[in-house]
């Protein structure tokens, strides 16, 4: 029997780290990826011939005003999953200001007036101020990013967002040394939002991030989806998207961004401290008390009788964001 031959440096213990291993879901769709890469290559080549680079990847549904964007070059910003249908993305929403049922936001959000719109930036920053929406739209180049969205309720979507890294705004307002956290507050106007006069939650809806999380290039301030401005039910005119956290960590219709020294208490932490923590990172190993987080149902893609798919650590963004939480006990900091 011939001796087993090894590469000279291979001691037999060079195991890949988990984040290097291709997920089975991705592996199973490698041909789709190749087709897409081919199509993407063609898409890259044609505009190149025409003189522009990195055109938007997703076709517009033609419902709202266009919000032109270029494909993002940020690592991890363009997942290969198939985007969820526009009608599902815009018809199945949690936006409790407009009602607790998934269809309520699409029904009632037409009452939301998104212009004029300003965002107050305050707290521990050298340059506080009030930003008009038009100024924000021009603050940085618009990028298209295809992110997975995992809801804490056990379903997921894939959404082509349009926006720019929140870091652009943070750098501009120059946080002081005391700024450790960022808190986002959203609109709470009972005239426009029927549930705000009710007791469903405490209004306004707020949530927060640690400053380094907020500065991460994947943390997106979104102004649109599917190449068009955000539909009201998805959080128009601007919302936060943090793809490695549960969806509720993306406050919608933001009116205030405050830099603070102490960890903010979010609306959900206030409402149910045993069930919702500050971090809310997608984690298949830490269950919500009333349901498992190990698996999820992809909206519009998984059939009624398909087994739910496995939820990925940090929603599949572990390679990009895992280092933010090095050494932390994620069972405790859920």
């Amino acid at each position: 029997m011939p001796p087993i031959r090894r590469a000279p440096q291979d001691t037999g213990f060079n195991h890949p780290v988990p984040s290097e291993i291709t997920s089975p879901a991705l592996y199973a769709r490698r041909r789709e990826w190749l087709q897409r890469a081919g199509a993407g290559g063609a898409a890259l080549a044609l505009p190149w011939l025409a003189g522009t680079a990195r055109a938007q990847a997703t076709a517009r549904p033609g419902r709202l005003s266009a919000l032109p964007a270029q494909r993002s070059a940020v690592a991890g910003a363009m997942v290969m999953d198939r985007p969820t249908a526009y009608d599902d993305v815009t018809g199945y929403n949690n936006f409790y200001e407009f009602g607790p049922d998934k269809a309520a936001p699409a029904r009632h959000a037409s009452r939301l007036k998104t212009r004029p719109w300003t965002v107050v930036v305050e707290g521990e920053v050298r340059k506080p101020g009030t930003y008009d929406l038009d100024a924000l739209l021009k603050l940085a180049p618009m990028e298209e990013r295809i992110y997975r969205l995992r809801c804490v309720e056990g379903w997921s979507m894939v959404i082509p967002w349009v926006g720019w890294s929140l870091a652009h705004l943070i750098r501009r307002v120059e946080p002081t040394g005391n700024a450790k956290y960022v808190e986002f507050s959203t609109l709470a106007d009972p005239q426009q939002m029927p549930q705000v006069s009710g007791r469903l939650l405490e209004w306004p809806y707020t949530d927060g991030l640690r400053l380094d999380e907020a500065m991460h290039p994947l943390t997106l301030l979104a102004f649109g989806l599917y190449g068009e401005i955000l539909p009201n039910q998805n959080g128009a005119p601007l919302r936060l998207v943090v793809p490695w956290k549960y969806g509720f960590k993306g406050p919608k219709s933001i009116v205030r961004i405050r830099f603070v020294e102490r960890q903010p208490v979010s609306t959900w932490m206030r409402s149910s401290p045993g069930e919702y923590g500050f971090y809310a990172n997608v984690n298949p190993n830490v269950d919500h008390p009333r349901w498992s987080q190990a698996s999820e149902r992809r909206i519009g893609e998984d059939g009624l009788f398909t087994r739910k798919r496995a939820t990925l650590m940090f929603n599949g963004y572990e390679a990009q964001v895992g280092s933010l939480y090095a050494g932390m006990d994620l069972q405790r900091h859920f």
Partner: protein, 226 residues
């Protein structure tokens, strides 16, 4: 039936006559299967929404609770409104409640758990809210199994009645399961409606039991429903 005004008595009489019509029970059964027909129709049209599994899970659970309320309303209505003919609907309504509970469990075990008994067991162990619902579902089995006349004869009316008092505990667990699902949101109004309905029915039932106990001679004949 003495103190009731004439109009009410004649209305009760008409309702009793309608309920006793040979077509009444098949019609009731068709009505009871309406929600199921609605899901099948919507499913074939792609009309179950973006998350069909959730629609079915929520829908079957809600209709189980509704049919439990309906079946528990039969005896109070018979006693307090004189709708004696409703008694012949009680078994049907009870079995329909069991049927929707079975659909609810199947929706959970199949759509959410992939029909994997180990996964179901693990999940129930982890989630008290789901376990409460499961206990209520298990509690319905002996009631459904003893719903036929032979079982009533075999058990004897007294023991059969005692066994079937389980339904009060089952309905309470079902309500708890529903309220628990909505915990952490101030969304109590819908659950409060069911709590109120069940509360009123329980009190009515208790008053009736109390009256019949203190007046043994005036006890109404409680033959098994035909």
């Amino acid at each position: 039936m003495t103190g009731r005004p004439l109009a009410q008595r004649s209305a009760a009489l008409a309702l009793n006559r309608a309920a006793a019509h040979p077509f009444a029970k098949p019609l009731l059964l068709l009505l009871c299967l309406g929600p199921l027909a609605g899901w099948i129709w919507a499913g074939s049209q792609g009309g179950l929404g973006a998350n069909p599994a959730e629609t079915l899970l929520r829908g079957t659970g809600l209709w189980t609770l509704r049919f439990l309320c309906l079946v528990l309303a039969v005896t109070p209505l018979r006693v307090w409104a004189g709708l004696v003919a409703l008694a012949r609907w009680r078994r049907l309504l009870g079995l329909v409640a069991f049927f929707y509970a079975l659909l609810h469990f199947l929706a959970y075990a199949w759509l959410d758990m992939g029909f994997d008994p180990a996964a179901v067991a693990r999940d129930l162990g982890k989630r008290p809210f789901a376990l409460v619902g499961f206990v209520a579902f298990v509690g319905l089995w002996p009631l459904a199994a003893t719903s036929w006349n032979g079982a009533i004869r075999w058990l004897g009316a007294a023991r059969w009645r005692t066994l079937h008092r389980l339904v009060y505990g089952i309905a309470t667990l079902g309500l708890l399961h529903f309220v628990w699902m909505r915990a952490s949101k101030n969304r109590a109004s819908e659950a409060a409606v069911y709590a109120l309905i069940l509360g009123v029915l329980f009190v009515a039932r208790w008053l009736h039991a109390h009256r019949t106990k203190s007046r043994p001679s005036g006890r109404q004949p409680t033959s098994p429903p035909k």
